[in-house]
């Protein structure tokens, strides 16, 4: 039992922190909210050069052969910096599923180009029901000779507007049980019949509606087994949920530090407001929520990294972090006073991204149900 990072991980964390302080100031974050693409290709290229994008891929696919836990460290720093980037979509939602379920040929074909930053991936999973269960997959892929024809609407697809490839989760067998007729397709985003529209969200992150109108995909682009895609997706949802938790832990830590710093500097009644017990207790509550989120998140990340079954630990981490974040940001605003509620203040980025992160890849209610099942209820 040991909750501390290794020396190498501490070093990675420090390099990431320094890089992001330098390359991702809040001016960039602000600019990217309004930007059409929503990320800086220059920063993205530099991240790829640092080996971050291919961090968790084996060396034979041009990666660094590091673990999910190492990735967690990086994601935490990205969350702390509010980094606008297709990293999450490309690595967590694209690269990891290919690494896990891809054929040797697919891995050779896609992973090196993901790692080098050339190719942007994303996952087209959720639909209009906005749920994460197998029953919600209604986009259909119909076999037609050597190809499949995909039709239907995917919603809340991150970065689809800039993606080179979409992993599309589609139903290929309606007669089979809910979880048994789902297949994953690697879809070229330039295929005819794909239309992506960026939705307007609170955080200004680029979530899209993607309409597939009779999109033709070669059979060799199936990722994993025909009709056997759900087990891959279940794993992706677990990894994505924990990866979101890592980002949230970094963000919450930053919010706590900003709040404590403000409480030490802001004076009212001729005293620093941080000397008032009401403010101190708010900050203590925030710190408790941050640490609780950190430990549950790293527990799940460690288990994923070790390849241990951890559905319950993932559920605990995501349910807790999402709701803890909401409490943390409410208290942060309370301590900051009205200035924190302005569009010019940095706190608003965290408030918005935190809520978006809490909603994505399963909210508290979704995971409470999973925990209940794991309790034998």
């Amino acid at each position: 039992m040991n909750f501390t990072l290794s020396e190498e991980q501490e070093m990675l964390k420090k390099i990431a922190r320094d890089f992001l302080i330098d390359k991702c100031p809040k001016t960039l974050v602000r600019e990217m909210v309004a930007d059409e693409k929503g990320y800086s290709p220059e920063v993205w290229r530099e991240m790829a050069r640092l080996g971050w994008v291919g961090l968790a891929f084996p060396e034979k696919y041009g990666g660094n052969g590091m673990s999910f836990l190492d990735l967690a460290v990086l994601l935490e720093e990205m969350g702390r910096a509010c980094l606008p980037s297709p990293f999450f979509s490309t690595v967590v939602l694209g690269g990891l599923p290919i690494l896990e379920a891809g054929s040797e040929e697919q891995k050779q074909q896609y992973l090196p180009r993901i790692g080098s930053g050339e190719t942007i991936f994303t996952l087209a999973l959720t639909e209009t029901s906005a749920r994460y269960d197998a029953a919600s997959i209604n986009v259909k892929a119909m076999a037609d000779k050597e190809t499949y024809v995909i039709s239907g609407t995917k919603l809340f697809v991150p970065d689809a507007h800039i993606a080179d490839y979409l992993l599309c989760v589609a139903r290929t067998n309606e007669a089979a049980a809910t979880e048994n007729g789902i297949t994953l397709f690697i879809v070229d985003a330039r295929s005819q019949g794909i239309k992506s529209t960026v939705l307007r969200t609170i955080a200004g992150d680029k979530l899209c509606e993607v309409v597939f109108d009779r999109v033709r995909v070669p059979g060799k682009n199936i990722l994993g087994r025909l009709d056997g895609g759900w087990s891959v997706i279940s794993r992706v949802i677990e990894q994505a949920a924990v990866a979101k938790c890592c980002e949230m832990v970094g963000s919450m830590q930053q919010v706590l530090e900003m709040t404590v710093a403000y409480a030490k500097e802001r004076k009212q009644f001729d005293r620093h407001i941080g000397s008032f017990q009401a403010i101190q207790h708010y900050c203590a509550n925030m710190a408790t929520d941050v640490d609780g989120s950190r430990f549950t998140t790293y527990q799940a990340a460690w288990m994923l990294s070790e390849g241990l079954p951890c559905a319950k630990e993932v559920a605990i981490a995501k349910a807790w972090a999402g709701e803890a974040y909401s409490r943390v940001s409410t208290l942060a605003h309370q301590v900051h006073g009205a200035i924190g509620c302005t569009i010019d203040h940095d706190l608003q980025f965290y408030t918005k991204q935190g809520k978006a992160a809490a909603l994505t890849f399963g909210d508290g209610d979704f995971y409470r149900e999973i925990v209940a099942q794991k309790m034998g209820l």
Binding site: T4, S275, A284, T288, I316, L377
Partner: protein, 390 residues
């Protein structure tokens, strides 16, 4: 980073489990809430002592096992999980033994430690007074030097385990002229000395949970002063961290948690198991989530201890969190039971052996004892986050 126990630790857990299961099978105790602080069983304590499980973390030189705090965490986790009656040795094992080892004289160590290790010394705590609660340094009980002795006069209250304690740990003022933090000393004395009177305090549940302890001209040898005279307040701070650090703050009512989950599985409402009701499922799942968070917060405290650091704000944070969990657990249990939730142990129709109503009431005090949640949040804010003193 590593979130699993070693094989050796898992084996130790299994050994503790086997022992407890055997005891349960033989009917030597019934799982009950608050058993770590109210469960009186000298027989059970002697069995635990016989296995070397008292003083597990103490140095071998003093008869301990020299094992890690993680091992002690495993031991206490299993004890708490089945609500084992460990009150006779809990305080001595948790804090008084450590305190004697850190500050005591060789004579004190030789006299007290073997008795604790054999499961024969049950040490109560004499800290709070009517006018000294959160502001412990305001205490007024005096120890006045008289030749080779001290004469103790005053009153302690909220002393747990007082009805069966053999010894009492005591903080008393030894220099009334000094600033309040600098005139306090620690003692560990026998509880049956002439001049000591114990009056039970009945708690909100109707149990004899605490007592007032009166000292009227109690004469003790100077040999019973622990550590440095007038430095007691500084010595005690460390002890308070240990007092707050443990799983008992999270798992004191674990038997209720088990029972309410079982109840939801087995009880039908309108022909349908309660466990199938989404509201009930989510309440129980939320408790499980909160429990696991608390567990990791406490594990962190223990890891800090095993690094050789004194857990301070980490212990404070864990205790604030954990006692709030215990209160939430009791409240949720009552909500799930509905009208039955108000029935007390022994009543006709009472569910879950009356543990829900008992815990609901008993848990009001959890966020007060061993540091109120307000004092503990101050510690987190000042020492953990570096906010300025008010």
């Amino acid at each position: 980073m590593d979130f699993k126990f070693t094989e050796e630790q898992e084996r130790f857990r299994q050994e503790v489990r086997n022992f407890l299961e055997e005891e349960l099978k033989q009917g030597s105790f019934q799982p009950s809430c608050d058993a770590w602080i109210q469960g009186y069983s000298p027989e059970f304590t002697k069995k635990v002592a016989h296995r070397g499980w008292i003083g597990l973390t103490w140095p071998k030189a003093y008869g301990g096992q020299g094992r890690s705090n993680i091992d002690r965490l495993i031991l206490t986790e299993e004890m708490l999980r089945c609500g084992a009656p460990a009150a006779c040795h809990w305080f001595a094992d948790r804090q008084i033994g450590r305190s004697i080892i850190a500050f005591g004289t060789e004579e004190q160590k030789q006299e007290l430690l073997p008795r604790i290790l054999r499961g024969e010394a049950y040490v109560g705590l004499g800290m709070s007074e009517p006018e000294a609660g959160s502001d412990l340094a305001s205490l007024q009980t005096r120890a006045t030097a008289d030749g080779d002795d001290y004469i103790i006069d005053g009153q302690k209250m909220w002393t747990s385990c007082a009805r069966f304690m053999t010894d009492i740990y005591l903080v008393a003022r030894t220099d009334p002229a000094a600033p309040k933090q600098r005139g306090i000393s620690e003692f560990v004395i026998r509880a049956n000395l002439p001049g000591i009177t114990i009056t039970p305090t009945i708690d909100i549940t109707g149990s004899e949970a605490w007592a007032e302890v009166f000292f009227d001209g109690v004469r003790v040898s100077k040999n019973y002063l622990v550590g440095e005279k007038n430095r007691g307040f500084y010595q005690i701070l460390n002890q308070l961290d240990y007092e707050r650090a443990g799983l008992e703050r999270l798992m004191g009512n674990y038997p209720l948690f088990d029972a309410i989950v079982q109840f939801a599985r087995e009880t039908k409402r309108n022909g349908r198991p309660l466990a199938e009701d989404t509201l009930v499922r989510h309440k129980l799942a939320q408790l499980q989530i909160e429990f696991e968070v608390g567990r990791l917060l406490i594990y962190r405290v223990v890891l800090v201890m095993d690094e050789g650091r004194a857990p301070n704000w980490e212990a404070a944070m864990a205790k604030v969190y954990s006692t709030a969990f215990e209160q939430h657990l009791a409240n949720m249990a009552i909500e799930i039971l509905g009208l039955y939730g108000q029935l007390v142990a022994g009543s006709k129709w009472v569910p879950v052996a009356g543990m829900a109503s008992h815990s609901y009431l008993a848990s009001k005090g959890y966020s007060l004892q061993a540091g109120t949640s307000e004092i503990l949040r101050n510690i987190v804010a000042l020492r953990g986050l570096g906010l300025p003193e008010s």
